[in-house]
Subunit: 222 residues, 2 copies
């Protein structure tokens, strides 16, 4: 039986559409935002893998600087703010509120866990209206190691006195679920976009395209 | 004094232009190839970070499958071969032959080290005409852990009985140099394209845009 749900934030609970729109104001190629995000994730994984830590916002900025240089475009402070500022104002996906309500009814704890800094996480929870709906929340600032490295999953389990097999991670990122699965957590994939779950990563225990359906399966799990 | 030079292969010694041209046959958006490569690197780093290993070619294929799915395009076996087959036939950059010759004259050992499989590495060395110019070569197949994790750098040092401070890694990838630097190797960045060296990675000891100039600096180093 699942007693706690950990939720990834960016792209899992929060819709990145404003970020995509911001990139669209400076680039016509629709893959630029994907390239930037993938470059950012690669850098966070490299840094975590080499046992270092840097604020995710700083890494976002460094990746953005490179993308502008690669395209011979000037990145002004205004543009930086226009693009990266969207992160603080991302709306929750439509299915999130009902999903969290169902968890509350079922008396299952709700804990967002994110690679973003604690400051960003607080801002995101406040702006999206999710803050009052969660039990607590953690940024990787607490362990200074990005997901999908084990430090974060282990920290939350210890801090909240959770058993791994009674805890599920809900995420739209296969690499995040892969890391959590390695630590024995139950994993639930919410498919937010058309792509392929990496066939070489550990498979999720559950998979859905609508968060309320996924939550129903989590409530009934085992 | 530097006694051995380790060379990264893809994009460092070998020119990825044929790969970019192949993507151009299926996508108009010039960022697709960058997105795909970044996605591939992210997956190799995630897998290495979680202590697993998969052939780099298989990861290349998985990333390609996702990119086609994301674009509602059908990926036939012919297209797969057309794109990924270019990897085996990449030419060396113009400055490579003279650079390797200078190292030979200076009696410095030349050792390619790559994330590609051993089979791919052999094919690349043969097709590019570099095979007879190198002393030996290693794929991460030997350690089953991708660069930039320490296993590969440590393996080559031990296997070849090299001192870290007499060994330099030449690469165009900041993340590779960062990993090598962490293990105490000297690092030399060959800038092959316009982008930003990640400001949060350890800086390289040397940096040049032409390989022969970089090699001259390596020969005179310390």
């Amino acid at each position: 039986m699942i007693k706690t749900v950990l939720f990834d934030m960016n792209e899992t609970l929060l819709d990145l559409t404003p970020l995509k729109e911001a990139f669209g104001r400076y680039f016509q190629d629709k893959h630029v935002v994907k390239y930037w995000f993938s470059k950012l994730l690669h850098s966070s994984t490299v840094i975590g893998g080499l046992n270092d830590y840097v604020d995710f916002g700083k890494l976002s900025e460094a990746a953005l600087e490179s993308v502008f240089i690669e395209n011979d475009k000037e990145l002004t402070e205004d543009i930086k703010t226009d693009i990266l500022g969207t992160f603080k104002h991302l709306p929750a996906y439509d299915d999130v509120f009902e999903a969290l309500e169902r968890l509350k009814e079922a008396e299952i704890k709700i804990i967002p866990v994110t690679n973003s800094s604690n400051e960003m996480l607080e801002a995101q929870l406040a702006h999206s209206g999710l803050k009052d709906l969660v039990d607590t929340y953690y940024s990787v600032d607490a362990v200074e190691r990005f997901k999908p490295f084990k430090n974060m999953y282990q920290f939350v389990l210890e801090k909240e006195a959770l058993e791994a097999d009674e805890t599920v991670l809900v995420a739209t990122h296969d690499w995040d679920l892969y890391g959590a699965k390695k630590e024995g957590l139950v994993t639930a994939y919410i498919k937010r976009k058309k792509d392929q779950y990496n066939p070489y990563y550990l498979k999720p225990d559950l998979k859905e395209t609508h968060l309320v359906r996924l939550i129903e399966e989590i409530i009934q799990y085992k």
